[in-house]
Symmetry: C2
DNA sequence: CTGGAAATTGGGAGCGCTCCCATTATTAAT
DNA sequence: ATTAATAATGGGAGCGCTCCCAATTTCCAG
């Protein structure tokens, strides 16, 4: 089990270093019998080629980085991030890549992480979870460093980067349309932060829908949240005086916080106030009132990001590509659809 | 920004490769003036030494792996894991290590991940989140491969491995004692799965306490959960016929599921049935009834694991060490303490 | 059989660093 | 000024692999 090298295996199998390398890397042009013999020695010895040596010689590390900037606090507060991470990890595993995780919290974190991410010989490419205003800098860095890059979510300046996203505007619109269709008159929204594309787009979908339906947009029915449960709770408290009869929250976790505030205010869901969330994470079905929500394919989101990135790494083609995934309105209890029909 | 090497920097600064290396690695024995000159060139060019070359030459990758086996499903279901991950990521960052994340879900995942984790030249050490019965195999592998290793949580066979843990038995005991002290008569528990040390230990703390207090242990007041919200919900439903007046749940997320079941059954919390959870994750304060719980220092858990591991890596001392972190009972509403006093 | 093409195999060079040792410059002490 | 110490520097070897090319073997048609 000691530190074996290609040369050791070669000696034991009575061939050359090169032949062992060919076997390990599944190159053709090795006689079947020889390949078997080498494979046997590898099996017996439990040999694995040294990753660093391989990386140095081939200039490929088979490692990709996942960079979660400005989102560290959310990472543990909004189950969306763990789910995304899971999709990415799964896909990495499938394609035989190792996943390096970079959680950026503070400014000092940035300073330590940036060089590491762009340093040669560590990562073949990077996935950046973006959509926050401050992310532009990192993305710029990475583009400058000619690092293969895929952004998960639409970046603020989205030219010349590949990204995977959903159509947040239309997805939000479909949620709000649903509420309009059910006859609600005072539809409010709890939006995401204004410095995030997701926050902006989902709010835009809300505004757009109301306008299209000839409704007025009332600022007292719009509150900004921060994608946390607590944020949803406080946003709802701000909305309460305006007496909304329905609320579209820009994430499930905020919807749950908002429902908590509504319940504490003595309101009945969905009779006094209806809710639609966004994400359709498992928590949506675990609250005491099943949440109507927009389903987005989170795992798929991760998988697609990895696939796009690997394609870039392996073909060298860095032409920006974008993939927009489908969303779907999932009707459950919280919107009151069953009672209003 | 192109691919610079030590040699390039050396040429530009008019020194040798070795001197640049000394500067980069902060070795002494470089004249101040020379050091400044080299630093300047590095700054100007944005040079970073190639990670793979460095790893190959020094046999140190400055990367540690976090292996989450059998827990992938929980990873996204119990916020405990993201929090642990955060602590580990933070500490890695602080000590200038890169974190590689390995989520093991299926059997095929294992087969792909095991060789990668034990392969030379990729990881300097590994943290395994353990406590599940099936983890023993991986740990054995890693020990055989002489890979520096720290287990987060007590492994089933805990000899000859370093680990970080809390005293689950006594922590659970303090939760149950609290309920006894408040005068509850029919104290039930929702335990973790029997194939986990955590599940077993917390249940043992429950049983031990009841016995010490001269209470009988009633099997109908013990239900097994799986550390998910849904698991807590179903476990509570099983407990309901036995009419517990208090329940100790082995995790916050299960407590929340259990409270949902209780509310649906028309019970009042804490008047009809009181609850104590375990973990003190942020969700504990976000449910409509603030959860009394056992606080464990999750972030600290991650940080300690990293520190123990790095010590092992850097000193080469693999003598098994164990660190037991403190827990604390946090009294809020769900146990009814305020009304019973 | 024989020659030439194709398949197989081996070895050198090199990826970019660290580490060691020999060399040279500097300092302090006589 | 001379020598012995120490500090600073440069260059070779080597980490373990991949990739290329040259050498060898195998194969098949004539």
């Amino acid at each position: 089990m000691a530190d074996l090298t290609l040369e050791d295996i070669a000696k034991q199998a009575g061939v050359s270093r090169s032949t062992v390398s060919r076997v390990v890397n599944n190159h053709p042009n090795v006689r079947g019998e020889v390949r078997q013999r080498v494979l046997q020695v590898i099996e017996d010895t439990g040999f694995h080629p040294n990753a660093a040596a391989r990386t140095l010689a081939s200039q490929r590390s088979w490692t990709i980085g996942l960079l979660l900037p400005h989102s560290v606090s959310f990472f543990f507060t909004d189950p969306y991030y763990p789910h995304l991470t899971k999709g990415i990890a799964q896909a990495c595993n499938q394609y035989n890549y190792t996943l390096a995780l970079f959680l950026v919290g503070t400014k000092e974190d940035e300073e330590k992480i940036f060089p590491r991410v762009s340093r040669k010989g560590l990562l073949d490419g990077v996935i950046v979870q973006a959509g926050h205003h401050g992310d532009q800098e990192i993305i710029g860095h990475l583009v400058d460093a000619a690092m293969p890059l895929v952004v998960a979510g639409r970046p603020f300046r989205s030219d010349n980067v590949s990204y995977v996203d959903i159509d947040n505007i239309n997805a939000a619109a479909s949620a709000v349309s649903h509420l309009v269709r059910l006859g609600y008159q005072r539809i409010g929204t709890i939006s995401g932060p204004a410095n995030s594309t997701v926050g902006l787009d989902r709010k835009e979908g809300y505004v757009k829908t109301l306008k299209e339906r000839g409704r007025s947009v009332d600022d007292s029915l719009i509150a900004e949240g921060d994608f946390t449960e607590a944020g949803g709770y406080y946003a709802m408290q701000k909305l309460l005086p305006a007496k909304p009869d329905a609320v579209f929250a820009a994430s499930d976790i905020m919807a749950i916080g908002a429902m908590r505030a509504a319940k504490e205010a003595g309101l009945n869901i969905p009779d006094d106030v209806a809710f639609v969330g966004f994400d359709d994470l498992p928590i949506a079905t675990l609250s005491s009132i099943q949440l109507t929500t927009i389903r987005q394919p989170v795992i798929q989101f991760g998988v697609k990001s990895v696939e796009l990135l690997i394609d870039q790494i392996e073909t060298g083609n860095t032409t920006p590509r974008r993939v927009i995934l489908d969303t779907e309105l999932v009707i459950r209890e919280s919107c009151g659809a069953s009672r209003r029909k």
